[in-house]
């Protein structure tokens, strides 16, 4: 009976399954189909060609690494815009490179004390901005430092003697750059004077490259001409661009970050005593030379400046490094710029506005 009972039960169970089998099967198939379709849709959406993505290209220009990043929904459009921005930087390099034999700056330098030289719009703009920075830093930033800079060789650890520096300093004076805006000409008053735009041209190039990207239809991007960075728009995730500020005590470690700051439609530059330097007799000789003494400025280790224009962040970072922290913060406050100065003792001096925005990775006193 038990066995019979079992058979009956088993049949009952089988009957229960058999009746809705086709229904169950089709339900399962439908469910599988639905889930697969959902998965495919989700995957297709995440890889959609219309989704905005980040595109980046690097090139060596202006004797440094230039990285351009753009947000775009098309790889072709992004590359076209980036290439146009690189071409703009290349054009500016040809105008402003004083080592090149045929640049406009070389022609001005060659004709110093002789005759005025006709120049393009960009050189006039660059010199106008350079003079503005010189006037606001009491001459701590001076593009006529060329003859003094030429005396140093930081790779070969060569520093000129004091007599030579003193003699050459007489050729340094930004007030002796004569600009005629009507005729678009520039004259250096005395023979031997040299313009070196190394302290402003990279920041200006970042501005112009960003302008070019915008003209090409790019709504968001980042131009980094070495450490002179111009950021505009937002990233695809809706966040501002995050910039790391190098730790001045990191030695050769370029990726050692001291702090980060988020930027949108702003530029940032940093000048530090770790960029080109050598140590002799326990003293650090670096490339940020004081136009008053011809020697490396000693009050700061690094200066970061934030404002709208890259030309100003670049040049003021140099000028304020030379001015020193106390005067530097006053100048920044007066101009409404943001900045962070790390002095020779490692102490940080911050403008009011930057305090809320900067995020330190390590303790700074």
């Amino acid at each position: 009976m038990k066995s019979r009972q079992y058979v009956v039960d088993s049949k009952q169970v089988n009957t229960k399954r058999a009746v809705p089998a086709s229904y169950l099967q089709s339900t399962v198939y439908c469910l599988l189909l639905l889930l697969s379709t959902l998965y495919c849709l989700l995957y297709a959406c995440s890889c959609s060609p219309n989704k905005e993505r980040i595109f980046k290209k690097d090139r060596i220009l202006m004797d440094t690494l230039v990285a351009i990043t753009v947000v775009s929904d098309s790889k072709d459009n992004a590359e076209k815009a980036i290439d146009a921005a690189f071409s703009e930087i290349e054009y500016l390099e040809k105008l402003s490179n004083h080592y090149s034999s045929d640049s406009e700056i070389t022609r001005i330098n060659r004709n110093a004390g002789i005759s005025e030289v006709k120049v393009s719009y960009d050189i006039l703009k660059l010199l106008d901005k350079a003079l503005h920075v010189s006037e606001n830093t009491e001459g701590a930033f001076d593009v006529t430092m060329g003859p003094v800079i030429a005396l140093y060789d930081f790779h070969k650890k060569i520093r000129p003697d004091d007599g030579m520096i003193k003699k050459t300093l007489s050729l340094v004076n930004y007030r002796e750059i004569i600009i005629n805006r009507d005729r678009s000409t520039v004259l250096l008053k005395r023979k031997g004077m040299l313009i070196d735009l190394g302290g402003i041209a990279k920041g200006y190039a970042a501005d112009k490259a960003a302008e070019t990207l915008k003209k090409q239809g790019v709504r968001s991007g980042l131009v980094a001409v070495a450490g002179d960075i111009k950021a505009f728009g937002l990233k695809p995730d809706g966040k501002p661009w995050k910039i790391g500020i190098r730790n001045p005590e990191s030695g050769d470690k370029e990726d050692d970050i001291m702090a980060t700051i988020e930027l949108k439609d702003m530029a940032i530059s940093t000048s530090g005593d770790y960029e080109r330097f050598f140590i002799s007799g326990g003293k650090r000789y670096h490339h940020l030379l004081d136009p008053k003494t011809g020697l490396s400025a000693q009050e700061c280790r690094s200066v970061s400046i934030i404002t709208k224009e890259g030309a100003f962040t670049d040049a003021f970072a140099t000028g304020i490094f030379i001015l020193g922290p106390e005067q530097g913060v006053k100048v920044l406050d007066k101009l409404g710029f943001e900045g962070m100065i790390i002095d020779s003792q490692g102490k940080s001096h911050l403008t009011q506005g930057i305090r809320k925005k900067i995020e330190f990775k390590r303790t700074v006193s």
Partner: protein
């Protein structure tokens, strides 16, 4: 037990669970591929043009020809360095091993970057200083 019998012995819940597991596994593969592919490549450019894209997890030594001559790049233990360069100052060699960012030889126009420039999962977009 044949596959057909196995299928007939499963309940509706079994089949739903099975299909869900398949979907989850496939999603997991796509997710991991997207997340982990970021910092695993070394890009070597000469004069702006890509010369090599290499995995960071395979030790090797490669050389590229720049305008001044041969630059030799070594990849080892997820790090990269330049070991030979025709440039006069050898700053690229002095940079030593790097785990992120880039090693650059300006005179020979060689740029070695870590990570895929198209994928920006990293937190910092650029560095000043």
């Amino acid at each position: 037990m044949s596959l057909r019998e196995l299928f007939h012995n499963t309940t509706l819940a079994d089949r739903i669970l099975f299909s869900l597991l398949i979907v989850l596994s496939l999603s997991g593969i796509a997710f991991i591929k997207e997340i982990l592919s970021d910092n695993s490549t070394v890009h070597i450019y000469v004069d702006g043009h890509p010369a090599y894209i290499l995995p960071l997890d395979k030790n090797r030594v490669v050389s590229v020809e720049g305008p001044q001559g041969k630059t030799v790049v070594e990849i080892k233990d997820h790090q990269v360095r330049i070991i030979e360069s025709p440039c006069h100052n050898k700053l690229c060699i002095q940079t030593g091993w790097v785990r992120s960012g880039a090693v650059v030889c300006l005179p020979n126009r060689v740029v070695v970057t870590l990570g895929d420039p198209d994928k920006h999962k990293k937190t910092i977009d650029a560095t000043t200083g």
